[in-house]
């Protein structure tokens, strides 16, 4: 039995972080330049409410669209790698290595290609989320017990049945590990993509807050980005718990 990482529940984490913020800032006399009090940050958030909501929705849609496309493409490539030994030996090492390449730098090129549209951010998010999904899909598919495949075949299962009934269920926990990595990367891709020029989005607001040195606004955006990240990750973790409750043997 593999033990789970005993992490605190996200809700508890949120409450405790809020309490720490409320108590520690006045207590230690933290200068507002570093961390303004929670009240001032909330007040600042309320003052830009409509823009914040718009940006939130925009960044959310960029990240989600990019994630979905990247996940679909990643799973397809993972399956292809599992099927073809040549492809796996030649292209996969490149893929693994490319994960450590500063792909963000390609953001500039993507924006040149697709312009300052929603599409260019989606493409950056796709690109970032694609690799972990492809690699984890392959890892999951490779972990299949050959004896089980033989058993399936001896009962007359065809290749499609082996894939849908055996290979995919076995690989799903591993695929979800990749998906969870990918969802946070896609959010990063969406935010950074907005830095290359746009008018709406959390990344744009971050950039503006930096230029005007508005520390309260930066903290508002840090919190909102954190909420967005938690939302996306939590949704995925929820789906995993509900539908992929089995663990790899």
């Amino acid at each position: 039995m593999k033990r789970h990482l005993p992490l605190a529940h996200p809700a508890t984490a949120l409450v405790m972080a809020t309490c720490a913020w409320l108590v520690l800032v006045p207590l230690l006399g933290v200068p507002p330049r570093y961390l303004p009090s929670l009240g001032r940050v909330v007040a600042d958030a309320i003052s830009v409410w409509p823009e914040l909501l718009n940006s939130f929705l925009r960044t959310l849609s960029e990240a989600v669209l990019g994630f979905l496309a990247g996940a679909a493409l990643g799973i397809a490539f993972g399956v292809a790698f599992a099927r073809s030994r040549v492809l796996e030996r030649s292209v996969l090492p490149l893929f693994i290595a490319l994960q450590s390449v500063p792909v963000i730098a390609f953001g500039a090129v993507v924006v040149i290609w697709f312009g300052n549209s929603l599409l260019s951010k989606v493409m950056i998010a796709l690109y970032l989320s694609f690799f972990p999904v492809a690699v984890s899909t392959l890892r999951g598919l490779q972990a299949i017990d050959e004896k089980r495949v033989a058993l399936f075949l001896s009962f007359g299962a065809n290749r499609m049945q082996v894939f849908w009934r055996l290979a995919l269920p076995t690989a799903l926990p591993s695929i979800f590990t990749g998906l969870k990595l990918a969802v946070s990367l896609s959010l990063i891709g969406a935010i950074v993509g907005e830095w290359f020029g746009d008018t709406v989005g959390l990344g744009v607001m971050l950039l503006q807050a930096l230029y005007f040195e508005q520390v309260e606004r930066i903290w508002v955006l840090i919190v909102v980005c954190g909420l967005l990240g938690t939302l996306l990750y939590g949704l995925l973790a929820f789906i995993e718990r509900k539908y992929v409750w089995w663990r790899p043997a």
Partner: protein, 253 residues
């Protein structure tokens, strides 16, 4: 022994080199025959020529970026490991701090970039801080996962021989957690390069991120691509180094 190792290395590398070569060839031909304008996609030969020509400028930026990424990586891994050990040795700190860590970890680290720039200025300090932040979370969470993998029976056995917590940590938990920690370090190294480059895009005097960002603004696509090429090659080298270290450090797997 040496010959067989060299052989294995060649076996692993050849298909990759071949794949790179094929991709480069297709790219070159497609650009030449498709008459793609240079600002859309320069040809590989053009990029390599540009990289050679701009090498002093790019190497200057690359040096800064690599230094910042490695320094951030070192600081971040030490912080991450120290926190993990603290959590293990003094359980109350874990109950108190782990929720905070989890909450912070859910924020994409790049959201902290503006803050780091305001606090630490445009120089290397802000980039090192961002990289350290990104790395320490990855290492901390990986180490905690690794520590939880030791079986209670083993801990009890050591304790029955009179080992204290520190000895158990050093002789049992740390070696057992090593594979997981190494995975965390590998993720951390990738994150620290990305974090540094992203931070440089928003504000820096020097660095790959700064070169890319400025060249984008000037629509100088050859410089963008050659900076990407050089930095990619460097990250590949770093990655290879880490794989090598992995094999050396975790020989008991």
């Amino acid at each position: 022994m040496v010959a067989s190792r060299l052989n294995a290395l060649l076996n692993a590398c050849l298909p990759v080199v071949f794949a790179i070569f094929v991709m480069g060839f297709v790219w070159e031909v497609a650009v030449a025959f498709g008459e793609v304008p240079q600002y859309v996609l320069p040809s590989p030969s053009g990029i390599i020529a540009a990289a050679v020509q701009r090498f002093p400028q790019i190497a200057d930026g690359l040096w800064i970026t690599t230094f910042e990424a490695l320094a951030g990586f070192a600081v971040g891994s030490v912080i991450g490991l120290a926190l993990a050990c603290l959590f293990l040795l003094v359980p109350p700190t874990r109950a108190l701090l782990l929720p905070l860590v989890v909450a912070l970890n859910n924020v994409p680290s790049i959201a902290f970039v503006p803050l780091a720039l305001l606090w630490f200025g445009m120089g290397p300090a802000s980039k090192i801080a961002i990289a350290a932040l990104a790395v320490s979370f990855a290492v901390l969470l990986a180490a905690l996962e690794g520590f939880s993998r030791t079986e209670d029976g083993q801990v009890n056995l050591l304790r029955s021989f009179g080992a204290n917590r520190l000895a158990i940590l050093w002789r049992l938990r740390l070696p057992a957690a090593m594979p997981s920690i190494i995975t965390g370090l590998r993720i951390g190294l990738a994150r620290s390069t990305i974090a540094v480059i992203v931070a440089e895009m928003l504000g820096a005097y020097k660095g790959i991120g700064q070169i890319v960002y400025r060249a984008t603004a000037e629509m100088d696509s050859l410089t963008v691509w050659s900076a990407i090429l050089v930095s990619s090659a460097t990250s590949l080298a770093l990655y290879g180094l880490l794989v090598l270290i992995d094999r050396r450090l975790v020989w008991w797997q």
